[in-house]
Subunit: 218 residues, 2 copies
DNA sequence: TTTTATTTTTAGCCTAGCCTAAAAAAATAT
DNA sequence: ATATTTTTTTAGGCTAGGCTAAAAATAAAA
């Protein structure tokens, strides 16, 4: 069993590994964890002793197979709890993150097995992110950022990159939700804003929006 | 907001105050928390600084009004989660305690409001203990220990004093459950065992059993 | 009332997880 | 190739929450 802090580091390393495939840097991890580089070095050493990560001084850090399994299990719990909060308790999708951050650390194998069953073995969380199955298998979908679509292309909104309350509330306000179809009508090369069609309605969105929305182009 | 450890101390003091109305002794608290008296003294000082308890050296400790409210809120959360685990996730009543010990520390007002609603505002947990309402009001029932019943008296089983897995499994095995009617057929004065009628069946139970079962004599 | 036993507190130490400041290594620029 | 900047690590401290051993206060017994 690992501490709350250890689990949070594993999660952060897991998420950063996509951007840092050769090893997650101490500074990047410090940024992600809102802490100092020296604290990160301390923790990495502990994780390394527990065989959760591979670490060589000045070389960044990578998850071991064991570390990856542990991280994925925490992510699985986080996303299942998010589904519970939205589907069963009526939370809005921008209200669940903070509570799920706490619930993901509850230790009970039976709890997660039964929660998963109770929720009907969901495959996606409320933000469209895939929920790993009990064996840790992810179903990665072939999503792209809206900002990467070319003029005239279209697709279905399937997820968000930024899960902050502010961004999710912006989406709610503009009626952008998972499952909606979006097509690109215009792209402004100067500021990378775009004009999209959403529900037959035209909407102008900035680059910061389009680069945080995942689209599935079937 | 208080730490996990602080909340656990408040809960323990709350439970011990019934047995120690003039002030909970350091040793009793150390026993309850499975720790050492010196650690208890340390923690009591911290709780005292935070105005959660009244403390005078060598005089034991009492909850302040604020401390009591905090303790009751934690107990409320514990018992609501127990109901969730049994009613929604199919846990047995002897499996819930450990998980609820973790869940009771999740911090989110909305979570508890919605959970309570989702569960239909339950008044009792799976062991028959009353669930305080959102304002912290307890409904104390007029229960007595089975061992206190006189020959020929009868009542309904409404709760357990000992919530250990072992005891609860003993009850399950002997078909003793909340809601069942029990009447006292014989009392053995030597070892305080008794013969009871349960579902028309006669059952011999020892004093340790009868002094851990709560009965409501209407 | 003295002595003895028990309870409680103090003093000092440990670990996890954080911090700052300084040193060392690596990367970048001249 | 050397100098400068950036990144990372080390060294040393801090707090929460534990611990042991010893001292002090209270309670019980002679």
């Amino acid at each position: 069993m690992f501490s709350l802090s250890e689990e949070n580091y594993l999660k952060a390393i897991f998420h950063l590994e996509r951007a840092y495939p050769t090893g997650v840097s101490t500074n990047a991890l410090a940024e992600e964890m809102s802490t100092k580089a020296s604290s990160v070095t301390d923790m990495i050493k502990r994780l390394s002793e527990k065989k959760l990560v591979a670490y060589k001084k000045y070389q960044g850090v990578k998850l071991s197979e064991f570390g990856r399994e542990t991280a994925v299990e925490v992510i699985r719990k986080h996303r299942l709890w998010e589904v519970f909060l939205v589907d069963k308790l009526g939370f809005a999708w921008d209200e669940v993150h903070e509570v799920a951050e706490q619930l993901e650390h509850i230790k009970s194998e039976k709890l997660i097995i039964e929660l998963d069953k109770f929720l009907g073995h969901p495959k996606k969380d409320p933000h469209g992110d895939p929920i790993p199955d009990a064996k840790g298998n992810f179903v990665f979908s072939d999503k792209v950022l809206l900002s990467e679509l070319k003029l005239g292309e279209s697709g279905i909104c399937v997820g968000v990159k930024d899960s902050s309350t502010e961004f999710l509330q912006y989406l709610d306000k503009n009626d952008i939700a998972l499952g909606k179809e979006i097509s690109v009508l215009e792209k402004e090369s100067f500021d990378h804003s775009m004009l999209i069609n959403l529900n037959g309605r035209e909407l102008k969105i900035s680059n910061i929006i389009s680069s945080n929305l995942f689209i599935k182009t079937s």
